[in-house]
């Protein structure tokens, strides 16, 4: 709890590195709470918008004394962003009612600690990727650009680039499975 309060103080003071550490520690939990919205809005956009709003509000955020205060605030912010998007895109009352039921059934989100075994296994499996899938995946991971620009940077057409990213992800998943890692199990709520 002390560490959480100290981290919040750094974030509130405008420490982007502390914010990055916090965001990395809670991203999976935050994204997981958006599952009821998965077919209704683009949750990647919602997660990013929610994190940006948390950063903007952080200097005025007051810790309520309970664990994971900023994560709980991020979850509420993300739900509000998603609901606002749904109102804009005319979700039906039935969809909204079903959403509210799903959200009420969720418990409090908690951060997931990083898995050092997964880190080692991912590094080993990435080394085994063939040239083109490896190049496409690395471009995706290292540069926050649109896929047209990324494809051009590795001299591929857009479709070839996307096929190679897809292939790289499949090869990685297969390699991890062989190493005894079930990602779905790791990510289970």
């Amino acid at each position: 709890m002390q560490a959480e309060v100290a981290q919040l103080a750094r974030i509130s003071a405008g420490d982007a590195a502390a914010f990055g550490q916090w965001a990395s520690s809670i991203e999976a939990s935050l994204r997981g709470t958006l599952r009821p919205f998965a077919t209704l809005c683009d949750c990647e956009a919602v997660v990013q918008e929610a994190l940006l709003r948390v950063w903007q509000v952080a200097p005025r955020f007051k810790h309520d004394g309970r664990p994971n205060a900023l994560l709980r605030f991020a979850v509420t912010t993300a739900r509000n962003v998603a609901l606002s998007e749904l109102r804009r895109t005319s979700a039906t009352p039935t969809e909204l009612e079903s959403l509210h039921r799903a959200l009420e059934a969720q418990g409090d989100a908690t951060p997931r600690p990083p898995d050092p075994h997964l880190r080692t296994a991912v590094a080993r499996c990435r080394e085994k990727l063939p040239g083109q899938p490896a190049a496409a995946l690395t471009a995706r991971l290292e540069r926050a650009e649109d896929d047209h620009a990324l494809a051009a940077s590795v001299r591929m057409t857009l479709n070839t680039f996307l096929q190679n990213v897809s292939r790289a992800r499949k090869l990685l998943a297969d390699c991890l499975k062989k190493a005894g890692i079930d990602l779905d199990l790791e990510l289970a709520p």
Binding site: A16, A38, D42, L51, S166
Partner: protein, 74 residues
């Protein structure tokens, strides 16, 4: 899933998102072209992909967190 749907899904799994003129992060155009099953699959794939990215990054950051941090600087 058809090859065309797989290409759409792959685009949606990317963390790259444009912004509206008033600064709000926009949905990926490919997301709108997916049906409900494709959107669910994209959500699950993104969850898995970000976990792999955090595990494979020296700072433990996914492409989502990197995209957000890049926005802070603008």
């Amino acid at each position: 899933m058809t090859p065309e749907e797989l290409l759409l899904l792959e685009q949606v799994v990317s963390a790259h998102r444009e912004r509206t003129v008033d600064g709000v992060i926009k949905s990926h155009p490919a997301w709108h072209d997916l049906d409900a099953a494709g959107r669910s699959a994209a959500f699950d794939e993104t969850l898995r992909q970000r976990a792999l990215e955090r595990a494979g990054d020296p700072a433990g950051q996914s492409s989502t967190v990197k995209a957000v941090l890049a926005r802070l600087a603008r």
